[in-house]
C-alpha cells in the first residue's frame, strides 16, 4: 500500500457524510476517483459497519426488564439504607492544585526570570502564593504559625519560601527567616509592609518593629526597614 493510501484510509470510515474536515474530504474524493484499492477498502469498511449496525441487539423481552427493575430496586434500596452513597468529592479542594499551580508557576517563572536578568534589583521577594505553593517542604515553626494565625490573612500566606540559588539579594529575606529560629517574621514584599502593620495591634506592631531593628543591628536585614521602623 502506498503511503498516501495509508494516510487517507484513516479517514475512510467517515467518507462521505461523516465527521470529516473539508480538507480531507476533498483529498479523499480526488484519491478515490483514481485508486481502485482504496475504493475496494471503502466498500469493505462500509459492509462491516452495516453488518454491525444490522446485527440486532438481543432484546431479552419485557419479563427480563421487569426482573431487572425489581432487582435493581432492591439493590438500590439496600445500598441507600446501608449509607453506601459516597459523599461528594469536594470540587474546590480537588481543583486547588490546578487553580494555585498554574498562576504560581507563572509567577515563579517570572520572578526567577526577572531576578536572573536584574539581580541588582532590591527587595525581590516571591509573591505570597508562590511562597505557599512552591515550597511546601519548608514550613514555618509552630510558634511562627501560631503567631501568623492571629495576624492578617496576608501574613498567613507568607510561609518561609525556599529560594532558588540565583535569586541574588532576595535570599537575604529567606536567610532572615531561617536564622531567626522559631520566631521567623513574615517576608512579605516590602510594599506590603504598611498593610501588614495596619493589620496589627499596637503590641504586635511594637514587637514586630523591635524585631526588625534587632535584625538591622545584626546586619541581617536591609536598611530600608529602618526608615519604616523609626517612623
Amino acid at each position: 500500500m502506498k503511503w498516501q493510501c495509508a494516510l487517507l484510509q484513516r479517514w475512510l470510515p467517515e467518507y462521505p457524510e461523516g465527521d470529516l474536515p473539508a480538507f480531507w474530504k476533498g483529498r479523499l474524493k480526488a484519491h478515490l476517483d483514481r485508486c481502485p484499492a482504496c475504493r475496494a477498502e471503502q466498500a469493505a469498511l462500509r459492509e462491516v459497519v452495516e453488518a454491525i449496525a444490522s446485527a440486532p441487539k438481543g432484546d431479552p423481552g419485557p419479563e427480563f426488564w421487569t426482573d431487572f427493575s425489581r432487582e435493581m430496586h432492591l439493590k438500590l434500596v439496600r445500598a441507600a439504607q446501608a449509607g453506601q452513597m459516597a459523599p461528594a468529592r469536594s470540587v474546590w479542594w480537588g481543583r486547588i492544585p490546578y487553580l494555585v499551580g498554574a498562576p504560581a508557576l507563572a509567577a515563579l517563572l517570572l520572578w526567577v526570570a526577572v531576578g536572573y536578568l536584574n539581580p541588582e534589583r532590591p527587595g525581590l521577594t516571591p509573591p505570597p502564593q508562590v511562597a505557599k505553593s512552591a515550597a511546601p517542604a519548608v514550613t514555618a515553626p509552630p510558634a511562627a504559625i501560631a503567631k501568623q494565625e492571629s495576624a492578617t490573612p496576608a501574613r498567613k500566606l507568607a510561609a518561609a519560601p525556599q529560594a532558588p540559588a540565583e535569586l541574588g539579594e532576595s535570599q537575604n529575606f529567606v536567610n532572615v527567616a531561617r536564622n531567626s529560629g522559631d520566631e521567623a517574621f513574615p517576608e512579605e514584599d516590602l510594599d506590603d509592609l504598611d498593610s501588614t502593620l495596619a493589620g496589627m495591634t499596637t503590641q504586635e506592631r511594637e514587637a514586630f518593629l523591635k524585631k526588625l531593628s534587632q535584625h538591622e543591628k545584626d546586619g541581617s536585614c536591609l536598611t530600608r526597614y529602618s526608615a519604616i521602623s523609626s517612623a
Binding site: 484510509q9 484513516r10 479517514w11 475512510l12 470510515p13 467517515e14 465527521d19 469493505a44 469498511l45 459492509e47 462491516v48 459497519v49 453488518a51 454491525i52 449496525a53 446485527a55 440486532p56 441487539k57 438481543g58 432484546d59 431479552p60 427480563f64 426488564w65 431487572f68 427493575s69 432487582e71 435493581m72 430496586h73 439493590k75 438500590l76 434500596v77 445500598a79 441507600a80 453506601q84 452513597m85 459516597a86 459523599p87 461528594a88 468529592r89 470540587v91
Partner: protein
C-alpha cells in the same frame, strides 16, 4: 425531566429519580455489556453493577459532563475488569447464547442471516476490548468521537484512529470466520481441527 434534573435529585438521595435514569439507560448499558462480554447473564450482572457504581458515586458526578457518557465509562470499566478476570481464569465463551431476534424472514433466509450474524458476533468477540468498545459506542450507540474520547479517555483524534483500526480488524476477523465456515462445510474432518478461538 432532563438528565441534569434527575441527577440533581438523585444527588440529594432521591431514589426514584435515580431509578428513572436506570430505566432510561438500561437498554443501552445492557446492550453495551452484551457486546463486550458476549454473555447475556453476565451482561445483566455487569449492567446492574454499573448502575450501582453510578448510584454510589452519583455525588461525585459533575453536571458539566454528560451523564450518559459517564455511565458508559463506568459500564466499560466494569466490562474491562470482568474480561481481565475471565482471561485470567479462562472461562469459555459461548456466543450462541446471544439471543437473536428474527425479523420475519422466511426460514431459509432466516438461517442465512443467522449465519451472517453469528459471524459478526464471533468476529466482534475476537477484537481487543478497547476496539470492541469503540465500535459499539460509534456504530450502535451513535456517539461522536468527542463523546467516545470522554468515555474511553484520550483525544477525539485517537478515538477516530482506534475506530478505523477496529473496523479493519473486524473485517479481517469476519473474513477468517467465513473461511472457517467454508472449510467446515467442505470438509467436516478438517473443520474439527480448525481452531476457532
Amino acid at each position: 425531566m432532563t438528565d441534569a434534573q434527575l441527577v440533581a435529585q438523585a444527588q440529594n438521595g432521591d431514589l426514584p429519580a435515580f431509578e428513572e435514569l436506570v430505566k432510561k439507560y438500561q437498554r443501552e448499558i445492557y446492550g453495551l455489556a452484551c457486546r463486550m462480554v458476549s454473555d447475556p447473564e453476565e451482561a445483566k450482572d455487569l449492567a446492574q453493577q454499573a448502575f450501582m457504581q453510578a448510584f454510589i458515586h452519583i455525588r461525585s458526578f459533575r453536571q458539566d459532563a454528560q451523564f450518559r457518557t459517564w455511565l458508559f465509562r463506568i459500564a466499560i470499566n466494569q466490562c474491562y475488569n470482568f474480561l481481565k478476570n475471565r482471561k485470567k481464569f479462562g472461562d469459555p465463551v459461548n456466543c450462541d447464547e446471544v439471543v437473536l431476534v428474527g425479523e420475519g424472514d422466511s426460514p431459509e433466509e432466516e438461517l442465512v442471516t443467522q449465519d451472517e450474524r453469528r459471524r459478526v458476533y464471533a468476529a466482534l468477540e475476537k477484537l481487543p476490548p478497547k476496539q470492541q468498545a469503540v465500535l459499539t459506542l460509534k456504530v450502535e450507540q451513535g456517539l461522536s468521537y468527542q463523546e467516545i474520547s470522554e468515555v474511553l479517555g484520550g483525544t477525539p483524534g485517537a478515538a477516530r484512529v482506534n475506530y478505523c483500526q477496529a473496523l479493519k480488524t473486524l473485517k479481517k476477523n469476519m473474513k477468517s470466520e467465513e473461511e472457517d465456515e467454508v472449510a467446515m462445510r467442505t470438509s467436516p474432518a478438517v473443520a474439527t481441527r480448525v481452531p476457532r478461538g
